[in-house]
Subunit: 134 residues, 2 copies
Amino acid sequence: MLTRIDHIAIAVQNIGDALKFFEDALGVQLDHTALEEGGRTQVAFMPVGQSEVELVEPQDSESGLAKFIAKRGEGIHHICFEVDDIEAALARLKDKGAQLIDETPRTNTKGMRYAFIHPKSAHGVLIELYQKPK
Amino acid sequence: MLTRIDHIAIAVQNIGDALKFFEDALGVQLDHTALEEGGRTQVAFMPVGQSEVELVEPQDSESGLAKFIAKRGEGIHHICFEVDDIEAALARLKDKGAQLIDETPRTNTKGMRYAFIHPKSAHGVLIELYQKPK
């Protein structure tokens, strides 16, 4: 059902500063950066094996991501798993009583479907599910 | 240099409870559980693609893991990357001014070498490096 870790998102205050560690010191290769979520988040995409590390930087102080950093500091924000069938995965979670942030999948600008599970149900972990491209 | 995400460790208070979510609801398959770190940590190993999710449960209240949960609650504890050459990776990190928890690699009971980078240098993320088996 879960085919791979798609990405791990790390909340940072400034991608340029964070790259000094993740790229220059740790040696993760930067593929590209892009503005996501209607311009509210800058993302640095850094492939590692079959997964990616994503550095995510809020572009305004009102977003959930900005509030996460204000409250908890920089650190891992969420983990995303690729699934074969996102509807089946969400139905199973709901059936088992898990609290979902998205009861039905959202669709991003590239047409990919994804949904978040509430960390209250997931032992403190914000989990994203991502529909494997057909 | 970083070849893959080896594992993501999630700190939980009770593996049995956590498996109700991660295995029964989310659908990650449990491979096996084992006592690690001289009996101080119970670990549930759950493969996902070329990586693993590891649920880690402290066995006493004095360990760093137990204190992490007491302070921050359950959640992602660390992320581990496999590297081709752990000595080269640590030398590069040190050269770039990163703060290391382990200046030289530790060796586990299976003879595998690993080292931790301090989250102060890594934008709030506790990072483990793991030497790829030759």
